[in-house]
């Protein structure tokens, strides 16, 4: 299905008898508690090896593309017995051609448009003339201990119309909309899209991108 370096492959060598004997004699010298810790560390290191596959690929980086996509019949939601499944495009066939990301669809969608990999239609009807773009960054400073949030209108209006967010989800007036992570993680506000379709809220620093000057942090010490 998915070819990937699994932990099992990496564990295999330790089952060689000679190596095992060497390890066990070493463990005897270390004492059982320390040995246990060492083994745990060893296990974690092996897991780290497995994760090496998943190093973030920066958009535009031509390094080896390790992205893999499941075929539709294996993705856990499509019915493999559906006779029409063969007519559908496989995610990997389309997405592997687009600039990489490690989250979501493993595609960095803004770059895909900016660099011209894709040019999705902006309007359905040829008579729809109004296409709104806005280049305005909004900084939200009230983010507790997290870096501040910089909201770029430009990146959003590439995909969306003003009316998709205003005035229902967000008021146009700065500061008039209550936004917090509780709402977002519950699929409200930003979470309406970033919950399930746009990049996930687990990518903290993509929104919380502007470090605060150290002097602005409030601590208990003072």
């Amino acid at each position: 299905m998915v070819s990937r370096v699994g932990a099992g492959d990496l564990l295999y060598p330790i089952f060689f008898r000679g190596a095992l004997l060497k390890v066990s004699s070493k463990l005897k010298m270390m004492g059982s508690r320390r040995a246990l810790l060492a083994l745990l560390a060893f296990g974690a290191a092996l897991a780290g090896e497995a994760w090496a596959d998943f190093v973030p690929i920066m958009p535009g980086d031509p390094s080896v593309d390790t992205r893999r996509w499941l075929r539709l019949e294996n993705d856990g939601i499509h019915d493999p017995t559906d006779p029409d499944l063969k007519d559908l495009q496989e995610p990997g066939d389309a997405l592997s051609l687009l600039p990489p990301d490690y989250a979501g669809n493993q595609v960095h969608w803004p770059t895909a448009i900016e660099k011209g990999y894709i040019n999705p239609r902006s309007t359905f009807s040829p008579t729809t003339k109004v296409v709104n773009f806005l280049d305005l960054d909004v900084m939200r400073k009230n983010t507790s201990i997290m870096p501040m949030v910089l909201f770029p209108h430009k990146k959003h209006t590439v995909w969306l119309d003003c009316a998709n967010c205003h005035e229902q989800l967000f008021k146009s007036k700065a500061g008039a909309t209550k936004i917090n992570m509780w709402l977002i993680l519950n699929g409200e506000k930003c979470g309406l899209c970033h919950g399930g379709v746009a990049f996930p809220p687990t990518e903290c620093i993509r929104c919380h991108s502007v470090p605060r000057p150290a002097s602005e942090y409030v601590t208990d010490e003072r």
């Binding site: 932990a7 246990l36 939601i77």
Partner: protein
């Protein structure tokens, strides 16, 4: 005896820790939407709508303003009747922009029986602690 148990635990942990931490990847594509309010009740497979496929070809606003799809999951009442009449999916899936509904029911109705309606795919977040 204790020694053996401890060694057993140690060896097991070597086996288990990597398994727990290694990437497990059986999931739908991010943004795949399951529509099953009516499909299965009417003897059809659930519908799977792939966002990834459509956003390569159309910007969000095309469907989410002009076609009349609400952004909030679950807030759209899409019926086959409306689609055939040229509403919602039927605005493009009419044999002109995209294939028409009679091209093969299973192209849309392609989901496993018993799926719950909603957005699936990796990293979904439906409340704190649910990603």
């Amino acid at each position: 005896m204790m020694q053996r148990v401890r060694r057993g635990i140690a060896i097991l942990s070597v086996l288990i820790v990597p398994l727990l931490l290694s990437p497990i990847a059986v999931h739908a594509e991010r943004g795949d939407v399951v529509l099953n309010k009516r499909a299965e009740a009417n003897g059809m497979r659930p519908v799977i709508f792939p966002h990834w496929f459509h956003r390569i070809r159309f910007r969000c606003k095309v469907c989410h303003t002009e076609l009349g799809f609400q952004m909030r999951a679950g807030s759209n009442e899409v019926t086959m009747d409306e689609i055939v009449k040229g509403k919602f999916c039927g605005m493009c899936h009419n044999g002109q922009i995209a294939w028409s509904p009679d091209a093969g029911c299973g192209r849309c109705h392609s989901g496993l029986p018993g799926l719950k309606s909603g957005i699936t795919g990796n990293d979904e977040t439906k409340g704190p602690g649910h990603w």
